[in-house]
Structure formats: structure tokens, C-alpha cells
Symmetry: C2
């Protein structure tokens, strides 16, 4: 196959106002989802689309950072680029004049996420396969060369990654049934902070009808009694067999988190998510001990593999909510997934991409790495804006068949 | 005194190419220092200048983030603002549409640093006093209200800060002699990575002549033998009585850091700085144990008080190199200084401001918090661009007397 060459890089500052109250939580009070989009044009071939999520006016900053950071891509052949992407990714992450702005976090790292995701999309499209299939068809050596192991080598290096891949090769066929059955989803859109009780109940009833068995509720409001009342209400409404998760979106300091998690334990959550500041590893460790056996989920604001490594080493989280639009894209997401395998922890992504891209990655994680099937977050608010929106039927993500990473957006003005 | 009201906020993207090789280290190969400057205009009164350092093209992103973040400032009276600045600072740091881009790190947090520093500068100028005097003249209650204790309360809350201030009130007069004697400096500009041996020796000899007794050398190059040779050369050149520090600027992974720190120990550094990735708390802990009694300095890339708290809790560093142009400005620098007092650690700032602003803060830390006098980094490359450049005589920073925070820059086109 002739190699596809990147001709030019452009960006799109895509903003989508949400329905009233959607997307609200304890710290994010506005209702706007935005994607800082990287677009890679190739000569006569497909174009690559990469996205990263932001929540408002700052989206423009990420688009500008993409333009500064992606300059070396023009003129590169995609197969050549992806044959040693780990090295290239490190080079971009350490760009000498931009590195100071992080390093490996904040606006510039979000830009790297968008760029990286566009590269993977273009690569899969140029081979004419969905991303999950591209990743599964790579040899262990090809896969490991996608990853940047720098600063995690004492826990995970290339040899470790190869070992994990090879160990799971023989048992792969047994796990491929997920491609036919689909990957279960859970619904976050029933319990936004600004929604009243009646709306939560109505949306939950609809989600139950559509086949969902797991639901997330926002907590962490200034009114703690409201949190507890809503949690009680939702548990009563869904009954004992449904799965609930509570999400505080970092609002609590440590003493409040200890108190509130103990109170919320009565409503049997599978996890409590982002209980306190996402940088506070030691705070999570102390909290985990204090609220045992309640489990902690975190990751949507953990910026890179180094911080994830520290969280895992410290025993500071039980569910790894890696997000390939917060981390440096698909490749750093995979590195974190390998780390999670090392520490025996489940990866349950946060879907900054609305689940479009992560639906591919959870299939890879299950089949190639042996990660157990839990469920993948589902937030439907932007589905009409995607060319190939994730198909969720009976509560299950249906395996995407279109070439690429499912992130192409309809042109401005189309959609809702 | 009539309150000074902020009329408008503007920014300046100030870039200063450095002399060949200056500013280079193991990860920053370009020679350009930039300030993202916040300018606060007041009606008929002084103007406030705040700076944050960056190293190149990304400076523009920080200026744009300042413009987005600083909107609430226009129309505010400075005394009213500073009477409850801790609350205001938290409000800006948690701005719902920008918070996702961090939180509390990266481009947006650098912007907050610049904004905060401009507020402190305007406040000091409006009272007609240098910043160090403004801070020292505040009551403990006024001082504590400048600080945002959120997410560090279990270690340091308002009562703790008040206690520290009150405990040191009685013994203050004994420490005020520093105002007359000056605060010792150390010279970083002798040992940039790109400098050849002869140049390092020549610059060191000059610095010795100017009264300096402590010097920093860049290490962490791809050529480890070069690092060791330069370290040996400098130790031999300065003799046993001089103080040396080695700075790897994050280049090493953990195994290499352990090996290189052990080798460099032969040259008796006071500390080894940024030995590995600045997010890797656990890596620093393991390293500290492995290389005992060699000490670790870190902080120029530690983004906020929460991460500093974690570093201190873990015993991951010995010298706290807080930088008020990386942290959210003067106020978060002070919060970190209080944390350091709690943990019995010395604060030795990294001077992202070239020492202009930090010369005020080390005086406060010594006199009001009882922090021991070590020395303050001195990098002279941009001195000609400041209206009131720090005066360093006989190796000592002379106490600044001009009103404000000493950060006003000459207009574009003037200076060198």
C-alpha cells in the first residue's frame, strides 16, 4: 500500500452548547462541551481527526497550542511516523520552547492529545480498518514502539510491555466474543448536578428502558443534605440490583471527603469518583483507608503516565479513569493501561471524547491485555455532531466498523 | 488614603533573546526568556505589573489566558480586593470554563501567577511601599486572608498560619538586620549547559570577584562523562570552601538519576536539583533514600500548593524551590512557605522572575516566618530590561526601596 503523507495540519475550535443543566457538576457550572480538533490532510488520501475535550472559552488556547506543536507533522508519511511513534511523541512532549508550560500537563498536553489522536485516526483510515482492529493486528513489537516509557521505566519498560502482550496472545480468542456481543455502557447523563429529582427519575427510567444497568449521580454540592437526599432517592428508584456511582468532581477537601464518603456508603456505590483535588495523591491514600471498603475512582484530571504511576504505587485509587483526550492521546492511554495491568487495576475510561474513541480502546484493553470487562461511560449529548456516532443498543456499545477512530465531526452548521 | 481602582487589564508578550548559550540546560536548548506580563491600569494612580516566565513561542498562550481570566478585575478597588484575596484567588483558579485546562497547572495557572503578581505590585505601589514592607506591616489576620488554604487544610489552615505568624512576632527584630546587610545570592549563570570549560571558569572567576560564594552547574546532558568532568573541573576551580549545586533539569529517569547522583556526590554538592520528572513524587522518595546523604532540590516545575504538600509529606525533597511565577503568584508562594515551615524545610526560590520579586519574598520569609537565610538564585541576563533591576553588591541582594514588587519593565525598544 502506498504510504499516506500528511500535507497540512489545521484546527477547528468546535463548541457545542448543551441543553439546560446538562454537563453540570460541583465545579463546572456551565453547559458547553468543546473539542479542540486537529485535522490532518493527506494528498489524495483520507484525513485524520483528533479531539480533546474542554469546557468553554479556553478551547481556543488548545487550538493555538496544537498549531504551535504540530508543525513537524507536515510532510511526514503516516506509516513511517507510527513505526516509531513513542519516540516522536516524546519529542513533541519535550519541545524545548513549549515544555516549560507544563511539562506534560495543561493546555499543551491537551494539544498533544488532540494531535496524537489525529495521527492514530489517519493511520487506521489509511489502512482501511477501525482503530480497535488496527491495534489488535499489530505485532507486540509494533505496539510497544507506539509507547513512550520515559519516567516509568523502573515499573514498565518495553520488555515488560512485550511480556504482557505475549502472555495474553494465546487466550485472546476467548475474549474476542466481546466484538460480537458489544461492550456494556453506563449512563452519566441521568444525574447532572442541576437536574431536579423528577428529571433524574425520568431520565433514569428511560435509561433503564434502553437497557442500562449502571448510573452515575453528581454529588459534591454546597448543600450536603441535597447530595444525600438525591443519592437515597436514586438508590430507591433503581432498586438493589442496579449499579450506582457517585461523582464529586474534586469538590471536597480531605476532612469533608471522609465524612461524605462514609455517609454515601449507605447507598452502596460501586465507587466514589474524584472525591478531592486530583493532584492530592496522599489525600486519596488517607481517604481510601478511612472509608474502606468504599472504592475510589479517579483519572479524568490525572495528566500523564507519571502521575498515574504515582497514584498506582501509592494505592490511591481503585478504578483507573484514564482519558485519551487528557493524557497525550491513544498512546499514553495505552501506556497507562499497561501500568494498570502491572498493578492489577481495572481501566474504566472517562469519556472526554463522548465514548467515540474509547469504545475502540476498551476492546483492545480487554482482548490484548486481558483487562476485565466492566463498562464504558456513555454521554450522548453530542452524538448528532459525529459522522459515525457510537451505536449503543440494549445498553451495549456496538463494535464500530468504519475505518478510523470514529471522531470525525460533521461540518459546522450541520447537526443540531 | 483613597482606594485605587483598577480601570483596565492589558497584557504584554515580552520576549528577550539571550546571549548565545545562556539559559541552556539538559531539556531547554533555546536561549530565549519571555515574560507574559499583566498590566493593571488605575485611574490617576499607579499601574501594576505582574510577570510569569516562559521560554518561547508559548508565551502568547499565557498572555491570552491572562486576558480570559483577568476579566473580573476591571472596576475593582485594590484595597477591597486584597482584603480577601484568598477567596478571590480561589474563585479565579476555579473559573468554571477554564478550570478543565488544569486544574491549577499549566498555561492557565501561569496566567493566574502573572495576574496575582500584578495585584500585589499595584497594592504595594498604591500604599507607596516596597512589597516586602507591605507584607511585613500586615497584621497576621490580614496576611492570612491573602491565602487560599483549600485542599491543604488538613495540614495548614488559617489558624495554623496565624499561629506561625504570632509565634515569630516577638523574635522579629533580631531578624530585621537582613534589611541592612542584604540577602546573599548564588550565581546560576556561570554554568549553562552549552558553555565550554573555559567560559565556565572565566564566568566563575568573575562571579567570585563580585563576591559570590555559591554556584550552580547544569548537568543531565546526554554525555554523562561530560557532566562528571565539568563537575570535577568546577569543584577544583572554586576550591573546597565554595558551595556548588548541580541541576539536571529533569533529564534523568530514576535508575540513571540514582547512578549519576552517586557519582556526582564526589564533588560535594549542597543539592542536586530536579534529578527526574517533576511529577514523580515516589521517584524522588526512592532516589532520596538511595543517594543519602545527598540532598534533593525541586520546585520550579511543581505547579501548586497541593503537589508541594504531597512532596513534603512524602519526604521527597530537601530544598523547596517554590517560584511565585509558577505557583499562583505571591499568595500561593506564601502558602507554600507556610507549609515548608510546618515541615521544617527551607524555601530557596527558583527565580522565574530573575529575582526581582523573590528578593521581597525571601525577606518576608526570614523575618516573619523565621525561615533561615540561605541564598537567593541570581540570573542577571534580563537586568537591563527592568526599571529597577535588583542591586546585587558583594554577592548580596540589596533591599529594594522602590514602591511595589520591582517588576516594571522598560517599554519595548528600550534597554538592550
Amino acid at each position: 500500500m502506498p504510504d499516506c503523507v500528511i500535507q497540512s495540519v489545521s484546527t477547528r475550535d468546535a463548541r457545542f452548547p448543551l441543553p439546560e443543566g446538562a454537563g453540570t457538576d460541583s465545579v463546572h457550572t456551565s453547559s458547553e462541551y468543546c473539542f479542540a480538533v486537529t485535522l490532518l490532510a493527506s494528498a489524495g488520501g483520507p484525513s485524520g481527526t483528533g479531539i480533546t475535550l474542554t469546557l468553554g472559552v479556553g478551547n481556543r488556547l488548545v487550538c493555538e497550542a496544537i498549531e504551535l506543536l504540530a508543525r513537524p507533522l507536515a510532510g511526514m508519511a503516516i506509516e513511517e511516523l507510527m513505526a516509531d511513534f513513542g519516540r516522536f511523541s516524546r519529542q513533541l512532549a519535550d519541545e524545548p520552547s513549549l515544555r516549560w508550560l507544563g511539562p506534560h500537563k495543561g493546555v499543551v498536553h491537551l494539544a498533544l492529545a488532540s494531535i496524537t489522536n489525529a495521527c492514530f485516526d489517519l493511520w487506521a483510515k489509511s489502512r482501511g480498518v477501525p482503530l480497535w482492529k488496527l491495534l489488535l493486528d499489530l505485532t507486540p513489537e509494533e505496539l510497544a514502539r507506539l509507547l513512550d516509557f520515559s519516567y516509568v521505566e523502573e515499573i514498565l519498560d518495553q520488555q515488560d510491555a512485550l511480556g504482557i502482550l505475549r502472555d495474553h496472545l494465546r487466550t485472546r480468542p476467548g475474549r474476542e466474543s466481546v466484538l460480537r456481543c458489544g461492550y456494556p455502557g453506563y449512563d452519566t447523563s441521568v444525574g447532572w448536578m442541576a437536574y431536579g429529582d423528577d428529571k433524574v427519575k425520568e431520565l433514569t427510567a428511560r435509561a433503564v428502558d434502553r437497557g442500562f444497568k449502571a448510573f452515575k449521580l453528581k454529588v459534591g454540592s454546597a448543600d450536603e443534605d441535597r447530595d444525600l437526599r438525591r443519592a437515597a432517592m436514586l438508590r430507591e428508584f433503581v432498586g438493589d440490583s442496579a449499579t450506582l456511582m457517585f461523582d464529586a468532581n474534586q469538590h471536597w477537601n480531605l476532612p469533608v471527603a471522609i465524612r461524605m464518603c462514609r455517609e454515601l456508603a449507605a447507598f452502596r456505590p460501586l465507587w466514589i469518583e474524584e472525591p478531592t483535588h486530583p493532584d492530592d495523591i496522599q489525600g486519596h491514600v488517607l481517604l481510601a483507608k478511612e472509608i474502606e471498603p468504599v472504592k475510589i475512582a479517579a483519572g479524568e484530571h490525572i495528566p500523564n503516565r507519571v502521575v498515574f504511576k504515582n497514584f498506582m504505587q501509592a494505592g490511591a485509587l481503585h478504578f483507573v479513569q484514564a482519558d485519551c483526550t487528557r493524557l497525550a492521546g491513544v498512546s499514553e492511554f495505552l501506556t497507562v493501561s499497561f501500568l494498570a495491568v502491572k498493578f492489577g487495576l481495572p481501566v474504566v475510561p472517562h469519556v472526554g471524547d463522548m465514548g467515540q474513541l474509547h469504545q475502540h480502546l476498551v476492546l483492545f484493553n480487554h482482548i490484548a491485555l486481558g483487562q476485565e470487562i466492566l463498562f464504558l461511560e456513555h454521554i450522548p449529548h453530542l452524538r448528532e455532531h459525529f459522522v459515525f456516532p457510537a451505536r449503543v443498543t440494549g445498553g451495549y456499545y456496538q463494535t464500530p466498523q468504519e475505518p478510523g477512530a470514529s471522531c470525525d465531526l460533521k461540518p459546522t452548521g450541520s447537526g443540531g
